[in-house]
């Protein structure tokens, strides 16, 4: 699957990323790098142990990566969670928000896995 097809499948903004990164090779490189990032796992762990400060930072970090890599849906999901956590403990149950993040993350991860290498 080409980078473009992959981005279309994951519902990400290929054109935007392409404009910023110039080449598919770069996009491919960063996407593979994204697979190594532990932020989502840390976010889940921190939420579980109610460390909302750290969870906020993770959500924020994810948000930043999503902006860079153009993962629109994951960006939106992480933004909502990030805002919920901005002032410390959430006012409502963060479970569904985390679930949205996790689901989108897994979708993204899955798509990256199918991405053909670019040279």
């Amino acid at each position: 699957m080409t980078v473009k097809e992959c981005y279309e499948k994951m519902g990400a903004d290929y054109e935007d990323v392409k404009a910023r990164m110039m080449t598919d090779k770069m996009i491919y490189k960063y996407n593979k790098k994204f697979l190594e990032m532990k932020e989502v796992t840390l976010l889940q762990q921190n939420l579980q142990k109610a460390d909302y400060e750290e969870a906020f930072r993770m959500a924020h970090s994810i948000k930043g990566m999503c902006l860079n890599l153009g993962y629109t849906s994951l960006f939106e999901a992480s933004s909502v969670l990030c805002e919920e956590l901005r002032d410390g403990a959430p006012t409502s149950d963060p479970g569904p928000l985390l679930k949205a993040v996790t689901e989108n993350y897994e979708k993204v991860i899955g798509c990256i896995g199918e991405m053909d290498e670019c040279r």
Partner: protein, 1088 residues
């Protein structure tokens, strides 16, 4: 006689019998030839036959006339066949012989055959039995059995008339002894002779009873006959045919008669021989095994003692003979043969002589008991119709198979069980069709309720002799002693024992038997139990149901009571009152009432209670109103009008002030005959006060509304005035112009004035319309592109005449505007500024100073600018109160100083509305007589970035920045890598820091001026971007304030941008980072 010879003896007897029959047949022939026929007795009529009796035990008649004796049954059968009637004639034996000859009796028995007698009597062809003749001594005499040498020279007495004379001669000759004859006529005389010592021995028929005599030898048995008088042919032929008949049809009767005489069973004791005596004296045990559990034959009592017919017989034999007979129980299922072989027992009791004696390897004794073997089936069994019936036998009956096949003349199958009872049960259960058991056990077992359905078949009844049996050789002395001991068994005793044991109560260890026996009581008991349980259960159900109902009704009551209690909770006192008798039950009262109440539920007079309360608690002014309600009759009257009414009053003032209370009267009569009432008192102070408060609120609201109305009316009247003034001018100037048509100068002047006031009026009206639009929420912004500087210049041009008019000094500063090409509703911006400036002009006394400063705060990333407009004057100023009011519609400074100044009072409210729509703010600072400062901040979008006039991006040429150093501060590895890659496109040397702390450290450690720029993420752990920036800016280094720090955030909020500026960051770059943006920033701060 040794046991081994017993069977042989039997054969001899049979041979002898044949011989007798042969001889008899010859005599019958002779009688038939020479005898005469007595025709006196007509056939078909019952004939009287005279029979003698009283000389032996063959026929006895007791004092009741009951006939008994060995031959009684046989004779009766004979009489039945020949239609005889007996006439019994008491006689002695010699008398009887003589009476037959004399024709006084018709029948004589038992008659031995002798030639002498044949002269006077006729013999039938068959003997009726056999009679042994015994040699007797007195009991206690020294004669031993068959000790013939001791007989030598003895005085022997015998009946002269009998044939015993000849027999004795032969017997003495045979055994080699001589004797002296002592002739006596009767048995009695002979007994007497012995007792008197006139004779030593006596010769009797063994069938005759000799009390106190002992048999010392037995001569061979002779046949005996029923004889008739010589020549009585008719009777003889009747006897012959009758006996034939009995032989054929009642063989067992014939056999019994024959056997009776053969074995010589009577009460006579056999004398023991020398050897036998020694054997008895040695006390050697003879162990006799019996099968236990064969009631009534043999069994073990609960106390462990052995019992039963066999045991009793053995004991009797032991007692009589002195033989040491020891009964030994054999378990059911055990083989007696095994026990004999291993020496545990010597004999087994209970064998059927007929069956066992034919088996060569077995030795049997004389018979100890007779009984019948019977065929047993269910009472509804058609045994004869079963083709191959299954017969249940006990395991020790296996040798009966052949006998049964022969006697039943059928093919049979056999099934074996351990006990007779099991056999019978098998028949009952249908496992077998029949069983074949002895009648004694049958009679006992039939007492078992489970077996009552069994019956015996009379035609399959076989008499059998019971004996002792062994499968080992027995020495002669032992066997002869045993047989003599058996011979000592008394028939009467045996009968009595049999009778006795047949009457024992049924005993069973089997639980099923017990249960079966108790089945009816059990069924009754069980039924009763079931009925009881059912009744109990039903009662329990009923009780539970009742309980449930009670519980439900209790709960319901409780619920209602709780509801009532909750509903009546606010009542301080509740009384149920019977007005007819003026009596009340206090249902409930609170602490408040307890001061003058004593006990709940106590009956008291209603009128007195209420009077007491009123006098003590109610304020005087209410008493008059309430007191009538103390009268029950008055209440009854009132209830006729309404069923429910209230009285409101105040209680006497206490600690809580004067509180409102209410009395509630409710008619509770069920019909017209009674007058019941529920009466309650509650505190309604809070309600009343709340009502009052509510009233006050409404009153206040009304006042506010009136005030607003007044304000509007006031405004309208002012507006009318403001509008009429220019209208007057217009009307006046129009008149002037008309009057001076042709005078161009005057007309032009008039028209110019008209035009000016018209415009003013237009402005007024526009304001009013705007305001109403704003109030209705209908105002909208109309965005267009415009140049802010041009707009400002236009405004100044518009206002220039007024400024001049008032002689004000006007200064302005537009230097801080970065972007002039913006988008927005220019008209509204103009309107707002004109309003503010107009006010400054109007409310500043002539010759005042007015200034306008415009300042742009860049929010680059948003592509919009924050513009701050400051209008300052040194005019009349405002009080604090007025400052608060000026933005409210329809308000104008109630100030004498400005009364002549024209205005709608809508300018500032409109301005504020416009500013708010543009997401801006408006503030006022003012001091009375010193002047006012209005600060308006609005956001305006920039026009297309390409036309950005300030920062013109240069063409991105990466080589441009080779050799420059930048510090990239970003916590996220991926973002950092991306940013680094992008920065490196510009050939920049990029150092990385993971958080603010690290960045500050790296900055510190770098040479002054090393970093040409710092790209700073804001949200970071340890130290965030703001803090890091502040730390860097605070360093005492030459480049601390110089180095450009560019914020990088994903946030696009204005506050964030403001914050980044306030901490000393130079610019803001929003994520995601775009190469072009980097280029712009680099160009802006590093000068390319």
């Amino acid at each position: 006689m040794p046991v081994g010879k017993m069977a042989k003896g039997r054969d001899e007897t049979m041979r002898k019998k044949q011989w007798v029959i042969y001889i008899s047949a010859v005599f019958v022939f002779l009688f038939l030839c020479f005898g005469r026929v007595n025709l006196s007795q007509a056939a078909g009529k019952s004939k009287t036959v005279r029979v003698p009796y009283g000389y032996n035990d063959f026929l006895k008649i007791d004092k009741d006339g009951e006939v008994s004796g060995y031959y009684a049954e046989y004779l009766n059968e004979l009489a039945r066949i020949n239609h005889w009637k007996y006439e019994y004639v008491k006689a002695t034996w010699p008398d009887a012989v003589r009476m037959l000859e004399e024709g006084k009796v018709d029948l004589l028995y038992p008659t031995n055959y002798s030639k002498e007698r044949e002269r006077t009597m006729d013999y039938p062809s068959l003997p009726v039995g056999y009679i042994s003749v015994g040699v007797y001594a007195l009991e206690g005499s020294n004669y031993k059995y068959d000790d013939y040498t001791s007989f030598d020279g003895a005085r022997i007495t015998y009946s002269k008339d009998s044939s015993n004379d000849e027999k004795l001669k032969t017997f003495a000759k045979e055994h080699g002894f001589s004797y002296h004859s002592v002739n006596r006529d009767t048995n009695y005389d002979m007994e007497q002779a012995l007792k008197d010592g006139e004779a030593d021995l006596a010769v009797f028929n063994v069938a005759d009873n000799f009390e106190g005599g002992v048999l010392v030898s037995v001569m061979e048995a002779d046949p005996v006959y029923l004889t008739v008088r010589k020549g009585n042919k008719e009777l003889l032929s009747e006897i012959n045919s009758g006996m034939q008949n009995i032989m054929q049809k009642k063989s067992e009767l014939a056999e019994a008669a024959l056997r009776m005489t053969l074995t010589g069973k009577n009460d006579s004791l056999f004398a023991l021989s020398d050897e036998e005596r020694k054997f008895v004296d040695s006390g050697e045990e003879i162990t006799v095994g019996f099968y236990e559990g064969t009631e009534p034959l043999a069994y073990i009592n609960e106390d462990g003692s052995y019992d039963g017919i066999f045991v009793a017989l053995l004991n009797y034999m032991k007692e009589k003979s002195g033989l040491n007979l020891v009964p030994y129980p054999i378990k059911q299922g055990q083989e007696w043969q095994d026990l004999v072989e291993n020496g545990t027992i010597d004999f087994c009791i209970g064998a059927s002589k007929d069956i066992y004696s034919s088996e060569k390897e077995l030795c049997t004794t004389d018979s100890i008991l007779d009984y019948y073997m019977v065929l047993v089936t269910q009472n509804d069994c058609s045994f004869n119709q079963i083709g191959k019936p299954v017969i249940a036998l006990t395991t020790r009956q296996s040798n009966w198979e052949g006998f049964l096949r022969k006697r039943l003349k059928k093919e049979l199958d056999f099934q074996y069980y351990q006990t007779s009872k099991e056999c019978m049960l098998a028949v009952v259960n249908g496992d077998a069709d029949a069983s074949f058991i002895n009648n004694l056990e049958f009679n006992y077992q039939i007492k078992n309720n489970r077996l009552t359905s069994l019956i015996r078949w009379p035609q399959y009844r076989f008499a059998t002799e019971v004996c002792l049996v062994t499968n080992q050789d027995v020495d002669d002395v032992k066997s002869s002693t045993l047989n003599k001991a058996i011979g000592m068994l008394d028939d009467e005793y045996t009968e009595a024992v049999t009778e006795e044991y047949l009457n024992i109560t049924y005993h069973s260890n089997s639980v099923s038997d017990y249960l079966y026996k108790l089945r009816i009581p059990l069924i009754i008991f069980t039924s009763f139990l079931i009925v009881m349980i059912f009744v109990f259960w039903t009662m329990q159900l009923y009780r539970k149901k009742q309980e449930k109902l009670r519980e439900e009704s209790r709960k319901r009551e409780e619920k209602y009571f709780r509801i009532l209690a909750k509903l009546s909770g606010e009542y301080l006192l509740i009384c149920y009152t019977d007005l007819d008798v003026d009596q009340c039950d206090v249902v409930r009262f609170s602490n408040h009432m307890s001061a003058w109440m004593t006990k709940e539920g106590k009956r008291r007079s209603y009128s007195k209670l209420l009077q007491k309360y009123i006098n003590q608690n109610v304020q005087t002014k209410f008493r008059e109103e309430i007191l009538p309600f103390c009268d029950p009759t008055e209440l009854v009257r009132k209830f006729q009008a309404e069923k429910d009414f209230f009285i409101r009053y105040e209680e006497a003032c206490g600690e809580q002030g004067c509180r409102y209370f209410e009395m509630h009267f409710v008619d509770a009569s069920s019909d017209e005959t009674e007058h019941k009432m529920v009466f309650g008192i509650r505190c309604i102070d809070e309600i009343v006060k709340a009502e009052e408060q509510q009233k006050q609120v409404l009153k206040d609201a009304l006042e506010v509304a009136n005030l607003a109305n007044d304000t509007k009316s006031d405004f309208l009247s002012k507006m009318s005035h403001d509008i009429r003034t220019p209208m007057n001018a217009i009307v006046g100037m129009t008149y002037v112009a008309e009057q001076h048509i042709g005078d161009d100068e005057r007309v032009r002047d008039a028209l110019s004035k008209i035009s000016r006031v018209s415009h003013h009026m237009m402005g007024l009206i526009n304001n009013v319309l705007d305001m109403s639009k704003i109030e209705a929420g209908k105002m909208s912004l109309n965005e267009t592109e415009f140049d802010l500087c041009e707009l400002l210049e236009d405004i100044l041009e518009i206002l220039q005449p007024q400024i001049k008019e008032h002689n004000h000094t006007f200064t302005y500063d537009f230097e801080h505007i970065i972007h002039t090409a913006v988008q927005g509703d220019s008209l509204r911006v103009q309107q707002a500024l004109v309003n503010l400036l107009g006010n400054a002009i109007k409310y500043t006394p002539n010759g005042g100073e007015i200034s306008l400063t415009v300042c742009e705060k860049e929010i680059k990333a948003n592509r919009a600018g924050c513009y701050e407009f400051t209008i300052r004057d040194n005019g009349i100023g405002m009080t604090k109160e007025l400052q608060e009011q000026i933005f409210e519609p329809f308000q104008r400074g109630e100030d004498q100083r400005i009364s002549k100044i024209q205005g709608s009072g809508l300018g500032l409210p409109i301005t504020r509305s416009i500013v708010q729509m543009m997401n801006g703010t408006i503030k006022v600072e003012s001091e009375l007589k010193k002047g006012s400062t209005f600060t308006m901040t609005i956001f305006l979008k920039y026009q297309d970035v390409k036309e950005d006039v300030v920062v013109e991006p240069k063409e991105v040429t990466p080589e441009n920045y080779a050799g420059y150093h930048v510090l990239l501060v970003e916590d996220n590895e991926l973002n950092r890598e991306i940013a680094k890659d992008m920065l490196e496109m510009f050939q920049l040397e990029v150092d990385e820091a993971e958080d603010g702390q690290q960045a500050v450290e790296m900055y510190e450690q770098s040479e002054v001026g090393y970093y040409d720029m710092i790209f700073m993420d804001v949200q970071m752990p340890v130290m965030n971007g703001y803090e890091a920036t502040q730390a860097i800016r605070a360093k005492d280094r030459a480049d601390a304030e110089m180095v450009p720090i560019i914020a990088m955030t994903a946030n696009a909020f204005v506050e964030d941008i403001e914050k980044s500026m306030s901490v000393g960051m130079n610019a803001h770059m929003s994520k995601p980072i775009v190469v072009k943006e980097i280029g712009k920033v680099l160009a802006a701060y590093m000068g390319g």
